[in-house]
Amino acid sequence: MSRREQYWRRNLSYLIALLAAWFLVSFGCGILFVDALDRIRFGGFKLGFWFAQQGSIVAFVLLIVVYVRLMNRLDRRFDVHETDAAPAPGGEERTS
């Protein structure tokens, strides 16, 4: 398996894990299991309701943060990270 193939495989495995978490917090906790979770309370919130209106959104932001970190590390490990000379669209060189 080539280096590039390995890079892509690893990328896909990150995607599957993160999208599973994405599905769980929104469609899982906020929709499918919402009534079961509503039996648990913290403060004034029923847990299912909280996931549907707050928790899922917070989790989405965190998922993207984790993704960015993982991919930046992966890019460097496989030496495909961008250097400052990467051209901007339209063939122009970046100035800074």
Binding site: R4, Y7, W8, N11, L15, L18, L19, W22, S26, F27, G30, I31, L32, V34, D38, F42, G43, G44, F45, K46, F49, W50, A52, Q53, Q54, S56, I57, V58, F60, V61, L63, I64, V65, Y67, V68, M71, N72, D75, F78, V80, H81, E82, T83, A86, A88, P89, G90, E92, R94, T95, S96
Partner: protein, 557 residues
């Protein structure tokens, strides 16, 4: 100062700022006009994306809808944020590596087909025009309520502003204007929310406030009180749902996938300098959006509680001033059916005497909570910022589609850079006029076609782009039939229930119990299934295309 003079001052100041920025940062080349030269820093692009994405619907209507729908309103909260995860993980970095200007560019090049490009252009134009009409109308309404001019005059002022900075500035100009508009918008949303949260619960953070106890000495949790009030008046529980689980599932999925497929959102990720910036930019965008989207359900719960405690069973003669103000706009109506002079606001339509348009909840909220006049002015400026920033982003997609995708890439490939830029400006100008026309003469179906825009984006663009990146084997035949099947299915389902037979639009007649709002999800699945099976029996794409796919999968090389 009165509400009106505060509003005038704040709106005029914000407008001067937008135009000044656009003149400073105007575009000089097609690259700058379409994608700001690809040099926008990732956090700034995230902010601009947030302003681009959050329209008058997010700012004005969403909290109101949630306050009337309770937990069912979560479809908007999750649907309009979850799409950014898909965008960040599945689309943005690869499209940035591809590095051309538009979504039809990617579809046309990846599927080596002018026809596929045209299908994509038509979808992009349809989605954008649908959206922009609603924005101009929102501008007109905000003007007429708070500045005492007619809705039409309001639309003309809005057109002039958008024209000056979208046509002159292009993507480069609107990026910096959108950053400012985001700041105006988020202040306008958070300030009243924080005030109200402090007043009602003593918590300075609205997101925590709506899960806290009320500050009225009862010690009851706000949401419990709201559930109790709702039950008393015969409404369903605020924290309980009434829609079927399946329908909620499908609507949420359609909104998420539709968000990820909207051309004016995708194009923002072409403006950052590199692939890693496209990834982090999506994170920034969602962070800035989440600030408003996690506040909205709190605003909804506060507004609902305030409304129920203020007007329910109150004598009509003693209603507060805001009630009378909004009655003039006919967005709130009282009909004393039993003639006792009291307002009965109950779920039973035969006895209910009060009808309220959900749209007024955010705009009237500062007045309901008796906040200072400048807060009301700030909210109006925020609503206008939300509508104008989205309108500008959409106009740019329209002008790019016409000048770049239709003219340069399909009809007149030999056109010079200078004439292409001119054509882009003319197209943007024409689009402003069309949008203004719809703002003045709103087609009655604006609300209905929003489902359309998301359904179409979900059932056409999303699968075509996703397969173009993640499948080397996907070919022209598969992608084109997939898009057409997904589009035709979704469009005919929505047209049938929304326009031809609105009388049949209920769960009993829906296919598998999926409402027209959620049908885009089914259209998307159909698109995937068709594309994959057709590609299996038709020739593989040429070697050059396989190389293109290989190259967009890695950031460098």
């Amino acid at each position: 100062m009165t509400v009106q003079s505060w509003t005038l001052v704040l709106v005029a100041l914000s407008f001067a700022l937008y135009i000044g920025l656009a003149v400073l940062a105007r575009a000089g080349s097609t690259g700058e006009f379409y994608v700001a030269g690809g040099r926008v820093p990732s956090a700034l692009n995230g902010m601009a994306t947030a302003a681009d994405w959050m329209s008058a619907a997010s700012f004005i209507s969403m909290a109101g809808l949630i306050s009337f729908m309770g937990r069912d309103g979560s479809v908007y909260l999750m649907g309009w944020t979850g799409g950014y995860v898909l965008l960040a993980l599945l689309l943005a970095p690869y499209l940035r590596k591809f590095g051309k200007y538009t979504v039809p560019d990617f579809v046309g090049d990846r599927y080596y087909s002018g026809f596929a490009r045209i299908v994509a252009v038509v979808c992009a134009l349809f989605v954008s025009f649908t959206y922009v009409a609603g924005q101009m109308r929102g501008v007109g309404i905000a003007f007429s309520r708070f500045l005492g001019v007619g809705v039409d005059t309001g639309v003309f002022v809005g057109m002039a502003i958008v024209f000056s900075y979208a046509v002159l500035g292009g993507m480069k100009g609107i990026t910096y204007t959108q950053v400012t508009q985001y700041c105006v918008m988020i202040c306008a949303y958070l300030v009243p929310a924080i005030f109200i949260s402090l007043l009602m619960t003593g918590s300075i953070v609205p997101q925590l406030g709506f899960g806290s106890t009320l500050d009225d000495g009862s010690g009851a949790y706000l949401l419990d009180k709201l559930d109790g009030l709702s039950r008393e008046l015969g409404f369903s529980l605020y924290t309980g749902g009434t829609k079927s689980v399946l329908d909620v599932f499908f609507i949420t999925a359609a909104l998420m996938v539709g968000t990820a497929g909207l051309p004016h959102v995708i194009v923002r990720f072409y403006t950052v300098p590199r692939v890693s910036a496209a990834r982090s930019s999506a994170g920034w965008a969602l962070f800035f959006i989440a600030l408003l989207y996690t506040t909205a359900p709190a605003v909804a719960a506060f507004a609902r509680t305030n409304l129920l405690t203020t007007v329910s069973n109150a004598p009509y003669a003693k209603v507060p001033a805001w009630f009378k103000n909004w009655e003039k706009t006919k967005l709130i109506r009282f009909d004393d059916k039993n003639g006792d002079g009291m307002i009965q606001y109950v779920a039973d339509p035969a006895r209910n005497e009060l009808s309220i348009d959900p749209d007024i909840m955010v705009l009237a909220n500062p007045e309901i909570a008796a906040l200072p006049n400048w807060v009301v002015g700030l909210v109006v400026a925020g609503g206008l910022a939300a509508a104008l920033s989205t309108a500008a982003g959409l106009l740019l997609v329209i002008s790019t589609s016409v000048a770049h995708d239709l003219l340069k890439k399909s009809l007149r490939p030999q056109i010079s850079e200078k004439s292409e830029l001119m054509a882009a400006r003319v197209a943007a100008g024409a689009a402003v006029l069309v949008a203004g026309y719809f703002g003045v003469n709103p087609p009655g179906f604006v609300a209905q076609v929003v489902a359309f825009a998301f359904g179409l984006a979900a059932s056409s663009f999303f699968p075509a782009i996703l397969l173009g990146i993640f499948s080397r084997r996907m070919n022209r035949e598969g992608a084109v039939t997939g898009m057409i099947v997904g589009l035709a299915f979704t469009a005919s389902y929505i047209v049938y229930f929304k326009f031809l037979r609105p009388d049949l639009n209920d769960a009993e007649h829906w296919l598998f119990g999926v409402s027209p709002e959620g049908i885009g999800t089914l259209g998307m699945l159909l698109n995937f299934a068709t594309a994959i099976s057709v590609a299996r029996f038709t020739p593989a794409p040429p070697a050059g295309i396989r190389e293109l796919v290989e190259s967009i999968r890695v950031p460098r090389a």
